[in-house]
Symmetry: C3
Subunit: 229 residues, 3 copies
């Protein structure tokens, strides 16, 4: 089965380790044995962390874009609603969610069902709200981790200052030649990976220091500092 999935992630942190901005969105194509993405579509976001719901729409748009150049059997969307189809999603499905979440979701649901219906009509590919149970969504999350380091390094260089980046849950990123590799640290996911290509040699100009986020167990963070030449 060929699966397209997307996720947003990586968070710039303030000095109290609280997230201020979500760094990027990445769509991925995943094939058996479902370990890494042979194709992906990344995009920087730097979207305020307290208003990041529009990124869900962007995730589905990037899935649609990737679907234009690659065949797939299904789209895995990062919303955990028992795997129901997004084009058949009704507002009543959201009834059980907490008030605060529901109000924000209601604003974007019409856009999600519209894009999902379009992909179903034109390509015959359904998008399902499978969320955290999906391995391709996790691979998209790992790919966000790798791209978040790349995009944040770029930003740190442009602004000539140190940035603190919170990684997605339970993963670590290493920079190896022209590739950034994000690996899962979760049990039974030791062979999952996400990638980012450092095509402009940005990583050579920054220093990385990974540490644990002291106020959020399971989350690691990377301090990114322009190299003094």
């Amino acid at each position: 089965m060929r699966i397209i999935a997307a996720d947003s992630g990586g968070a710039l942190l303030d000095e109290r380790f609280e997230p201020t901005h979500v760094v990027c969105t990445v769509a991925v194509l995943v094939e058996p044995p479902y370990r890494y993405p042979p194709a992906l579509l990344p995009e920087p976001a730097f979207c305020p962390a307290d208003d990041s719901y529009p990124l869900l729409v962007r995730e589905l748009e990037l899935c649609r874009l990737l679907l234009e150049s690659h065949e797939a059997d299904v789209i895995h969307f990062d919303m955990s609603l028992r795997g129901i189809r997004l084009d058949e999603l009704e507002m009543s499905e959201l009834a059980r969610l907490p008030e605060r979440v529901r109000v924000k979701l209601m604003r974007i649901v019409p856009k999600l069902t519209f894009i999902a219906s379009e992909m179903w009509a034109s390509k015959g590919v359904p998008a399902i709200a499978i969320g955290k149970e999906s391995v391709p969504v996790r691979i998209a999350e790992l790919s966000c981790a790798a791209h978040a380091v790349l995009f944040s390094a770029e930003k740190a260089l442009e602004e000539g200052r140190r940035l603190l980046l919170g990684l997605p849950t339970s993963c670590t990123v290493i920079s190896s030649g022209s590739t950034l590799i994000a690996r899962s640290l979760l049990p039974a996911e030791h062979d999952l990976m996400g990638f980012a290509k450092d095509e402009h040699g940005i990583m050579a100009s920054v220093e990385l220091k990974e540490a644990l986020n002291p106020i959020a167990r399971g989350f690691r963070m990377v301090e990114i500092r322009p190299k003094v030449s």
Copy 2:
């Protein structure tokens, strides 16, 4: 302490990775340091996944059988009811469970209390509903993983076709000589193991390919294919 436990597991998957049949039941004897089973009693099941409650009765029967040839201090049963004794289990204990589960359990509870009472009367060994907190139950689950690969390989050869087997949560199986070894991938369980003996050299005639189940994070699956000679 010598503990006997049992579990059922391994699931044949359809091409959408949904379980169709539960593959086997295994009872195990476990002794300090509680890492692997010095004695076990496996049995193929291939029971429909949507009607697998009768396997719970079979689990307790296999425990009783194993108890006939091996001494033990307690039976750990894979039902999570705060460790209450199965021979003292009353229907009212099930009140908090969801309707759907309760109805199915009510049909088998009389059989469970009967078998448990019998073991208590004849051997003085209590059976407790400790469920997922029990390490011996996990070792039974790992032993199911190993036997599920063996029994599914046998079936794949008989039927001359490829089978897709879903493993129990967070474990991996390797075939080494005449033994199949299942290891836990969960934190703090790196030294737990289950085994299956391949006495008829079945594994030499099949090819195994392990991958992640893309729609169920934490679960791995094995593609089993008869070797082309």
Copy 3:
């Protein structure tokens, strides 16, 4: 950021693997990259496991003691109440907790707010109820694991008998020269550590055997036995 945290842990187990006594309390100082404690303050407790709430007060007192000799920006307290400040803690915050827990907490809350207020007034350092989300609290827990082995070994020698020690969740302890090292076995915590110094060479006189606690998955235990000379 410099963080002081404390925890109590390690549990003597009876022969049915049930906890009878909590072994010790340890306060730690943690600095970037938040992996191990450069300073710590341990204390044996051997407090009955069914009445261990007074240890929470002792944890905060040890934090205060450590704060007298070391600078810190914040105190992480092992109570999970969304990170609210202990000096501003009101009884109404406990309303959502289960009856049994609330009654016991209510007796110690006045003491906790008193100590927290004092630290805030004299040093300007707030104590927050961040609990299990805190990496420094986990490092304190690992340091309890290491000291629990040391203090239990001492007790086993004094009393000339075998003791069974339950370790905190998902960790393992090794004795290496004059140091006991506790490592986390949880995902994304592979680089966390706690320590204990064996200044009187106690570990040379005991034998350790680590096993899994068969009735509590994720928890390991250590059998400590005086060496026969």
